[in-house]
Symmetry: C5
Subunit: 357 residues, 5 copies
């Protein structure tokens, strides 16, 4: 393919799972299996502590502090299992944590709330990266399972560390919201990148379309279709969180979630809009190609239509008949030139009138 | 791009907000930061007063009069904060007031009703202008936050000043409705402009399509898509106002809102209709281009098909074989001319019959 | 535009209403302002009376008779106001009566039911006419506001006069239904006309498409889109009348309305169907044009491909080299002719085999 | 039109009904008015009787037997009226019985259930026939109103006569279901015919598309659109029968109706599928036509591009300048031939490399 | 057709069923009638037994064990009838078991739950196979009716035999779920195959589209449409199982079903996505074909436009007029060559500037 495929997370789930029991815990993804490492943050309005821990020393719930446990690396089955049994997490849930192809969703359990999302972000080379992330909200605690070190939660951590905004004074549900909000905010970044691509492609198509342009348009369209797949379900997830009666989410936090829901609506509308615009762009490309073809044909037609008749006339007087009186007339040659000029000009005027020149 | 882009309000929200806490109040827009200025109108059926005030001298509620506070300029964070705390407005709300990219919406609070809209209007050069406007309905008071001096509320102010219609005798909820109605009425103006553009483009495409026409059609389509984005949500907003049980909106005012809801339905239908018409127009353009191509090809075909065979005949008798009996026959030359005429006419008749001439 | 636009009711509402207060009563339409004239019909099973009245002598309700008041001309503000206050009609309602661009709708009031519709009918020259009509159902009385003398209610009046059917023995609600039914029946007439146009265009496109055909198809499509705009809402209106709990409409009358609802469903389906058919027709047109182009290219290709190589051969022996042995051979000239025939026939067979002839 | 239109039932309802009162009973169809004839079948588990009766000797209800009255011919207003008053049928119902353009629907009355359907079946020449049929279910009795002798109920009658299956042991509601089921089963026949047409057209388009193919595709598309119109509403009808609380339909019969509902779902899905496939087919046709055009252009381009330059070279040495040294050189003529061969082969190789040969 | 049709299960249901009574049990399919053979598995947490049985020795319910009866071959009417009466299955149900064209569905009965599905799997040659399968859940027992030996339940049987996962410790409802889950998991395999085809076709279209590519795209599209037909209803089925109040399905099993429902959502979304991508691919193909045509035309235009005028000039000096002074001038011939070169280069530069070279 001409353009490097930007979104690469995609392979056959069927091959790795077929014939396995549901709830069978195994890593489904493209990365090598590596041990998970865990980062623990505990904070309340006054205190803040950050440390690396091993998956065998998991913290117990602390009534006075909010705990954020960040598990990086989801291919370490032992660690995941350990964490699962410590926090009493269902096997089906753990399966989803490790299944990087799992569609975004939210599941409510009695003791916790489990959300699966896709982090979309741009890496250094402006390639769109997709990463599987699971957020679990327990009483006073939030767990993040993510594939790699890179994430979109830097801003949230900074706000915790620097005591900026209201995050330190609110509970785990607000933290859960803040993480979700960070994920959604990054969708804007990716969509802005899509829009910029769309606009530069638009300029290319309008100004100087080449054969490559069509491929670029189609690639962009496929990117939009794939982003749509991961982003569209989030709105429904947020709305289900708004409607939940679970005691885990506070009424005050729902006011903020309402805002996130608005953002999701806007994002979904933008995706639909960009989809329509990319279709228009393809249409415009086809039109331009067709116009170019028109121009090519006009040039051919004008030149051929003028010179083919003239060549015929020259051909007449190139014949070798013995009795062609014109040939010997002293006016013959100039008159033929006159006819060349008259016919040529006549056709030129004709084409001019037809606006083909 | 060929045509000056008419709708220009559009830039990256992601760059200005990413990593900030939700409810963080900062101006999101393209204008320079300038101090807000406030215009205060108080009126009842008998009295009317208008004055400029500073944001440190905000008025207290007056049970006998309706107050309209018009804040022009939404980049002055200090002023906005001041007003916010005076009227006990939520930080998330103030964020939306200053976020010029916020999608139209309505939020109900216990003490007030908060609506975000886009004013669409035509400026002097018939360019479509989009301005972010927030309307807040409190008991006996209405606040307008707008970006610039220019607005679509001139008619409402005149009716208050001149005591025209029922506006002076009704409360703040009617004022809120009147402002909303003015916004919606201006959508008609913009749509009428779109329709006029559509019709003149239609004429261009039918009568004399050029390469530019396609670009104009696509630009118009994008304008319609963008207007749709800002205008479509308004219908839902009005319907939610009709369904609200908030005591802020009187039952009598809802009769008027029902009318506005009808208008929104009509506007949305028109946008859909124009969208379909612009698609038809593009189709027609393509057809016309294709017909033009057909004509070009016909001319080439007719001229080439007539003269190429004739040139071949002339070529035959231009050969230099020694024994070509025709060359020396006295009838040779006239007979060749006869064949030219017969073949030429024959082909002409053939093309005439095929309707290519 | 090639074809005379058939549907002409369409102009800028925005220009006439912008900045006016809602409920401001003024005529919105293209006709000159003229005084309204009023026709009064009163009837019961036994009696019937018909008279012209002035708008200052409006009738009082008669418990024993059904009253039909027909107001022709909706630009006479004084008359409309007079009638409005006599029947205690809301200003917003009167505004809609005079606003010829008002979308079809039904509003329920405590004392009356107010419906706005579009009469569609064919005039003498088979042009589609659109007229704004408002029907008001009060207890024992029906008011019709219409733009001109022409209407679609002739059949209803005849049935009243001639005591045909059940109309004389039933109340005002049945009369309201009968008028609505007459409006809907005329949609069939207009749709039949559309269908006939569609079929004749279809024949034109299949048999002998010209450049004009595309314009005609597009014009028809626009007509269908516009009719859809006025006709589609009627189904919802009828369904709301069926669901109403207003005492103005009798249960028996609803059986008839159910029939009208069925008709509306059918009409809406037909409009959708015709829309699809017109799209197919455009597709067919494009295909035909493309086939024609194919044929043109084939003719060019066949003629040019045969004669260009032959001309080259003739050109060879028209060269003036001194030592061209073929020229002096007695077989040269016949052999060249042989090659002409063989090459020509060979190419003919080749094209025949390709099915291009 | 190229292909004989297969579905012919279609003409202007508007012309025959406009201005008539609703419930006015008159035949709306294309056939000549003919007297109806009536066939009466009575049966129970043990007895069976079949007879022709006159419409003046209508049977009375028989508590012990199920009665099937089959009225053939719906243009005999006297007979219809007679039957209507005997069975206490509403005038609006009778109107629908005689209106061959009536959309399929079901109406529940207190004493009977009234269904309007379209029988679709293939006649001897594989033409699709559409016939208007009304089924009325009364207590212990079923009435069929049909246009002609031909129907799709042969199987049902045979099962009654031959006591096959459970039909003889069940009541009138099962008979009603069996008739409806027979109608729906015949939709499969028609759809299978459509599918066969689609497949043979598909083969034609893939193997040897002609200009006629496009017309055939469009005709098939129109057939599908029209069948959709008559068949789609049946699903809703069956679902309303399933949901009815009328005592006329037994709970046991509803189990069978559920099956019919499944069939309707499948039929509707198939119609949608065929619609999509016919669109694909048209697309494929266009692609094929475009590919053919490509081939034509390639042949022209190859031949013209090779011989036009060669002809030019031959033309050079056909010039009559006195001092053209090449002409007198003994190598001149062979060298020109060499250049012919080199240029010709070069271009051939060029075109070969471009894959145009 | 170019490509071997991969999905072959499809023939006329209408021919085999028309005129038969509903609930008439007969095999509807393409295979020869063969005797069914039955495989019986009984297990609980501790025991496991597997045996082949005859349809006359059907097992009785065993309160302590879960029974899985696998009936292979559904054309043996006697066996099916026997099984039906042993398990008290409805005739309509048995009809659906044998009707290989039956749409997927679920029917709840008092004593059992009846599901019809399509197994989709790839055979050895990567052809998509469709097989009709019915699952019946009774208390403690599950029946599978399938067409052939081949199925997708190998993994489930292995888990039972090897006591892997929780299947042995759970009841019949979990077994039912596990079978359904295996069916759904195989949809992923088929979809992955579709996706691979799509991607290889995409590469073909982008790199080297041929006439065959269009057919392959259309064939793939038809495959997707047909898979959609069989797979789409499954989601609704699972959701109805989730909502059922039947005591046959345990609350714990529903947690697993929720997972299956998620998978169905994802599968349906993927089908929609692939459908859109195949449409894009066709569009891309058309664009590529159109670009190729453009290139062909450019070559023709460049060559013809350069040499046709030059040939004309050569033609002039090939004329035989007696007084053509240029012919005798010693500069004549070189000057003509100069004009050849200038004109030729001029046109080359012109075409270069137009980017046609």
């Amino acid at each position: 393919m001409a353009k490097k495929k930007r979104i690469t997370q995609r392979y056959s789930r069927s091959k790795s799972k077929l014939g396995k029991a549901p709830g069978h815990i195994s890593y489904v993804g493209l990365r090598d299996k590596e041990p998970s490492h865990l980062q623990l943050i505990t904070y309340n309005e006054h205190n803040f502590k950050q440390s690396e821990i091993a998956h065998k020393q998991l913290p117990v719930k602390n009534e006075l502090e909010t705990t954020l446990l960040n598990i990086v690396g989801i291919s370490d089955e032992e660690a995941i299992n350990n964490i699962g049994s410590h926090y009493k997490l269902n096997n089906l849930l753990l399966e989803d944590v490790m299944d990087t192809l799992q569609r975004p969703k939210i599941d409510e359990y009695d003791e916790h709330l489990f959300g699966v999302f896709k982090m979309l972000y741009l890496d250094g080379e402006k390639q769109i990266k997709i990463e599987h992330v699971s957020l679990i909200l327990l009483d006073k605690q939030v767990l993040i399972f993510q594939e790699t070190d890179e994430d979109v939660f830097g801003g949230v951590r900074e706000r915790i560390i620097n005591k900026y905004g209201r995050i330190r004074s609110r509970g785990a549900d607000y933290l859960f919201f803040a993480l979700l909000d960070a994920i959604v905010d990054n969708y804007y970044v990716v969509l802005d990148d899509i829009r910029e691509n769309l606009e530069s492609l638009e300029e290319e198509v309008y100004e100087n379309p080449t054969k490559e342009s069509a491929k670029k348009i189609q690639t962009l369209k496929k990117e939009i279709l794939r982003i749509r797949k991961w982003v569209f379900p989030v709105k429904e997830i947020v709305n289900r969180m708004l409607a939940t009666e679970s005691s885990l989410i506070d009424k005050d936090t729902k006011i903020f979630l309402r805002d996130t829901s608005d953002h999701c609506t806007e994002i979904n509308e933008d995706i639909v809009l960009y989809r329509e615009m990319v279709t228009s762009l393809m249409e415009m490309y086809m039109t331009n190609m067709s116009n170019k073809m028109n121009e090519v044909m006009k040039v051919l037609t004008v030149i051929a239509s003028i010179f083919i008749p003239l060549t015929f006339i020259a051909g007449i007087y190139g014949m070798n008949f013995t009795n062609m009186p014109e040939l010997n007339s002293p006016y013959g040659y100039p008159l033929v030139w006159l006819s060349f000029i008259i016919i040529g000009l006549g056709l030129l005027i004709f084409f001019k009138k037809k606006d083909w020149l």
